[in-house]
Symmetry: C2
Subunit: 458 residues, 2 copies
């Protein structure tokens, strides 16, 4: 509310100033599109269809991990449903994806007392030998701490006990922990789950190996157990842990990017592309990450069609595959559509959960930003009228690198990392009304940019 008040304070004098300079004032985009925006908001908040679609996707297929049958069945379902809804050019665009299989896995405290340690292997990790790795533990609080105790890491299982600050900062230990520990001769790496809140819940995610360093097995343990191991080490107690992981990397598998369109009525070859990733981790049902993101883009297009709002340009919805452990969908899209990337006006990604919307984050030129600043004013009834600086997403990253302006969908993020990459990523975490608000925000943004007479400048 205070944000909106402040905006008006700033905007009114600017409008007055411009009016004094330009006798024939063109109406703003916010003025021109006020009526369709109202219709979109009313329709999107009129029922809980979007939430219902997230729930159906989650409930029917479960997780949608790259290489799994459940992912391909979910893609079949989405394509069939899009066709039945009358979307245009519905198709699955082929993508070969990596196929990592978790297998049986466990961790246990052996010394000073026997206790199972809830864990999830990190995606891409190598296995342990069948009998597991049983080794003494070294708990460290940072990479600097690890290096300063470098001599102690050899032959040990390194445990990174690093508190969550931001995802970007803390996820480094999940991504790079195995490599850094292996450089010092560690036999495995365990990382405190990347989350600000835990109910003894491990959070999985991808790791990175380096061809110049031995690949050691790596898994996430819970916040609670990382803290327990820290206290034991601080008390001077010797700690031994046993880690067993049966992970395997199989040959690449066939998957697809899910694609559907609302064709433009005047310039169909100019494209606003938007979506999220259709794949998920192999735990939970990926309702939040990123079923919700795919569905709000999909529902936005379906709603525009239902309301008879066919824009000047084409809006293309994409459910990219394999974001989580390969980004093959995003790169395959870039390659398959290389010839039309110059005609990609804007790429919009939703991959932060579909909680209460806040706005969009933009990466592009100042002249485009000025136009989008006008467009987001239409989202003030949703309290989503902030245009943040910088934004995009993993899946649209490859085409943004080729010059396509990128827009990241921004929502309230206070609980996202509570459930991220866990078995608790389920539809109940999302609120039907908030999901509807996000549909409206995506639909308005895509429609105006696809419909406005001027082409969004690069």
């Amino acid at each position: 509310m205070s944000r909106r008040t402040k905006r008006w304070c700033l905007t009114i004098p600017m409008v007055a100033l411009l009016a004094a300079q330009a006798p024939a004032q063109t109406p703003s985009l916010a003025d021109r599109y006020a009526e369709p925006a109202r219709r979109i908001i009313d329709a999107a908040l009129g029922d809980s269809a979007a939430w219902g679609k997230v729930a159906e996707l989650s409930d029917r297929f479960g997780h949608r991990f790259s290489g799994s049958e459940s992912l391909e069945r979910a893609i079949d379902w989405a394509l069939a449903r899009m066709s039945a809804e009358g979307l245009e050019n519905v198709r699955g665009e082929p993508v070969m994806v990596p196929r990592w299989v978790r297998g049986e896995e466990s961790a246990a405290l052996v010394t000073p007392r026997a206790m199972p340690l809830p864990m999830l292997g990190l995606g891409g990790s190598v296995a342990t030998p069948p009998e597991g790795i049983t080794a003494p533990v070294l708990v460290v609080g940072s990479f600097d701490d690890l290096r300063s105790r470098g001599g102690e890491a050899h032959g040990r299982i390194v445990v990174y006990n690093v508190a969550f600050t931001s995802y970007g900062a803390t996820v480094q230990y999940r991504t790079n922990g195995a490599v850094e520990a292996a450089k010092l001769g560690a036999v495995a790496a365990l990382v405190r789950s990347v989350t600000p809140n835990s109910q003894r819940t491990p959070h999985t995610g991808a790791l990175r190996y380096d061809s110049t360093v031995a690949a050691i097995p790596s898994a996430a343990i819970t916040v609670e157990d990382a803290l327990l191991l820290q206290r034991m080490q601080d008390r001077g107690e010797p700690i031994v842990v046993r880690l067993r992981m049966g992970a395997r990397t199989l040959p690449d598998a066939q998957s697809r990017n899910v694609v559907a369109e609302l064709r433009g009525r005047e310039r169909p070859n100019e494209i606003v592309v938007m979506g999220g990733h259709i794949d998920s981790w192999d735990v939970g049902s990926g309702a939040m990450d990123d079923g919700g993101g795919v569905v709000v883009a999909w529902e936005a297009v379906r709603l525009l069609k239902q309301l008879g709002l066919r824009p000047r340009r084409t809006i293309r919805v994409v459910g990219w595959t394999n974001e989580e452990n390969g980004l093959r969908g995003g790169t395959a899209y870039r390659d398959a559509h290389a010839a039309e990337l110059d005609e990609h006006i804007l790429a919009i990604e939703s991959d932060g959960g579909v909680f209460a919307p806040r706005g969009f984050g933009f990466s592009g030129s100042d002249s485009a930003r000025a136009l989008l600043r006008d467009v987001v004013r239409l989202l003030s009834p949703l309290r989503a009228d902030t245009l943040f600086s910088g934004g995009g997403g993993a899946d649209i990253g490859p085409i943004m690198q080729r010059g396509v302006p990128g827009l990241g969908h921004v929502v309230d993020g206070s609980r996202y990392f509570w459930y991220h990459h866990t078995p608790a990523d389920t539809p109940d975490k999302l609120d039907p009304r908030e999901v509807g608000m996000n549909v409206a925000a995506m639909a308005i943004m895509a429609f105006v940019v696809a419909d406005m007479p001027e082409r969004l400048p690069r």
Copy 2:
């Protein structure tokens, strides 16, 4: 803060009124004990010794389930530590406790798709046959709903999908769900975990059987999965679940109530008893439920001794055993101390977590309440100066029934049921400073009631 301001507004005119009627005004308990209360608060907040003791108890022994070796080892440790600290009359008072063993257990969705259902069997449940029970599911939202659909329950697994309102209301489904379902011919009962917040976490707890009704196996499933089964039923999908439980009830085992004293300097036979329960469920490490409760009572007495504050009467700290699945410790205490119950001045129990203190809840006479209202004023620096109406605890229930006034320790309860009876009941959930505040609150309350010249009236 506003609470304290209000109190002064009310108190000043009453004091003025009393002063007008009674020329020789005796100082209030709050005035008389202001100096020792300050010393207690300073000492309790001066370090994190109490939190450290909760952590050590939790980390060294893990859970402390009735009948387990870890419970008896934890009791040995507590008794030895109490003796080393110079507490008096340190002893384990024998109690025979039930011994229920969880065994291997699992639940899985079979139809409409295969998926494991995280679960915890309810304490006291019977087993399934070794091959498990595989049966269609009936989801109900209340006992009324169950009875109105009574004909559908026969041969089914009844799932209670009841949202958390208050613990007292919602726990009925965990406690009585098996009996009510069995009355209608159900073959097993699953209950949505009793919690307002879930990360796919099952919460265990006790159930009750009725000798006139068949004992059917019963377990808790997660909030997420109860909602999933509800959605599947609402969509008209047939649901089949397989439940396997290897639970057994073994012969009763030997346990002990942990007892130690600070003997009174003038009237040692008059007793203020206080404590929590030393046992826990067989998941997590019972840091919150109720390691913290035992430790704050224990640390309160240790602190009084350390400060040289020996009261007129005896303060006895008790770690009751087997609160969770039998209450044998509380009843054994009543029986072992039957001859001195008339000399029990007050019983204080802490079993709601040791989060930020709020005050105490009292069950006893109006004249006693008036005195305690004066005492809790000493807790205003802790913001714990509210005397609530009604209070006590499960362990002191048996002696309260024999006339002993009861005082329940009241703390902020907003997160207690997030972790209650789960693997996430670990020391990190407690804040060292808040634990110290609770030590101070318990020490001041016990010291003043044990020391004041007048005996707390019944």
